[in-house]
Symmetry: C2
Subunit: 247 residues, 2 copies
DNA sequence: GTTCGCAACGAACATTGTTCGTCGCGAACA
DNA sequence: TGTTCGCGACGAACAATGTTCGTTGCGAAC
């Protein structure tokens, strides 16, 4: 405390009126930080700093970083609205729900990583699982298969959310690095293409004939477009309906 | 160097004949460590220690930890044998390839995490991608859809490998903690059940009617069994065949 | 026989998650 | 009203991480 103004800062009366700590405040601050600096860069110290306190203070409301992030994951899911009867039959509603999940999770950087390390069990997660299972049953999926189907859909949601997050991150990085010039479309596609398509594109036909032959279809455009996302979801749902046999 | 035997250890002639460093040696040591102590516990220092050297020496052959793990991932994939004509038609071969991938990756703890952070482009990965695409084309999947289908399968493989790794880890932890008594089946299922099934099981029917109704199907047995894995893969392939329409 | 490139490595740095012990406010209690 | 006590807040510290810097010394090339 060599700061000459410390007696002002330390005095609760003159302190800049910081909000009282609480679990919700910690989770909200962490979620905001995820959006701002990215999932990996959210450290206990940074969260504490955002709340104008020290890292040790967080451990009153949070067990450790993992549990913090699990809470953030659930908090993010709170923004997902469940489709209603006006949104169509069970299939249309399920597709809408899944795309909302991907958009929401993918919009918070790599927060979906939480669902890989541990199986989330927060209230919002359960709310969405409940709705998913209900829609699946409405679609005539066998009771015994419904949990598996929900699991499969969840795998898809998590993977797609991470893919979306990576795409948005690359996009931000490029548009920021391009000095704010024209950018956006031209530079983005070129930068991303030179990354992966160079690998697939310059692969000799002698050793990898099929990749070589499918080269035009393997361009980044195919990976980037959200046509691919809709296609994959369609495949899974069609598969659920076609696989009725042996549950 | 206060060690009185340092002049012996430092002398290359009397040194315990350590193998010369190389990229392959580093990757192999890291893979062995993944199996021994787990993916997360593989640090640069531990890898260096296994090779009887310092952490800084690794950076000659490896850019950083991420790239190291990418190399380990590819190295693990080298053990996967491609199904041959004797293994049946394209579908049987594809199912065999996928299950081998899951078993191999899942057998090396969380190494599959690598495929989530970055899209792997190692030679072994490309070898398997080539085979996957070939099998899909043999199955009549549209050329434009093949990359998407391979992507979908890869998502499934990665998620399932991580699930398998988690299951094996829990199993090891329980059998080790059980003092080497009877264990294995009884204790395992009880310990794992009390974790997740308690959440699903004690959920009130009023707020989550479908989860409550499906409770018997949501037991850990369903999640653990590899019937679930086969079912999911069947759904995906059936979906690929049923979704012919608009590629 | 000299020189030069580069693998090897010791030491250090900045950061990370987490724990310990203390401080002090505010509510419960006498 | 005066005392006590629980517990949130927090400063400081610890062990461990990934990575970099500068030096050293061997071996090959000229």
């Amino acid at each position: 405390m060599t700061d000459s103004t410390s007696h002002v800062r330390d005095n609760p009366r003159t302190r800049p009126a910081k909000a009282p700590l609480s679990r919700q405040a910690v989770l909200a601050a962490a979620l905001a930080l995820v959006d701002e600096v990215g999932y990996a860069a959210v450290t206990m110290r940074r969260v504490a700093q955002a709340l104008d306190t020290g890292p040790a203070s967080l451990y009153v409301y949070v067990a450790d970083r993992d549990e913090l992030m699990a809470g953030v994951y659930d908090l993010a899911l709170a923004a997902v609205e469940l489709p209603g009867p006006a949104d169509g039959d069970w299939r249309a509603r399920l597709e809408l729900l899944v795309s909302r999940l991907i958009a929401t999770l993918g919009g918070h950087d790599d927060i979906a990583l939480v669902a890989i390390t541990r199986v989330p069990t927060g209230p919002q997660t359960l709310r969405i699982l409940e709705e998913t299972l209900t829609l699946l049953r409405a679609g005539g999926i066998d009771d015994a298969a419904c949990p598996w189907a929900a699991d499969l859909l969840d795998q898809y949601v998590t993977s797609s959310a991470l893919e979306l997050a990576a795409r948005l991150r690359d996009q931000r990085a490029v548009t920021k690095a391009e000095g704010a010039a024209e950018a956006t479309e031209e530079a983005m596609s070129r930068a991303a293409r030179s990354e992966l398509d160079a690998v697939y594109g310059e692969l000799p036909a002698a050793t990898h004939p099929t990749i070589h032959a499918l080269r035009p279809a393997m361009t980044t455009a195919g990976r980037t477009s959200n046509t691919s996302a809709a296609w994959k979801l369609g495949v899974i749902i069609d598969g659920l309906l076609a696989h009725h046999p042996q549950p």
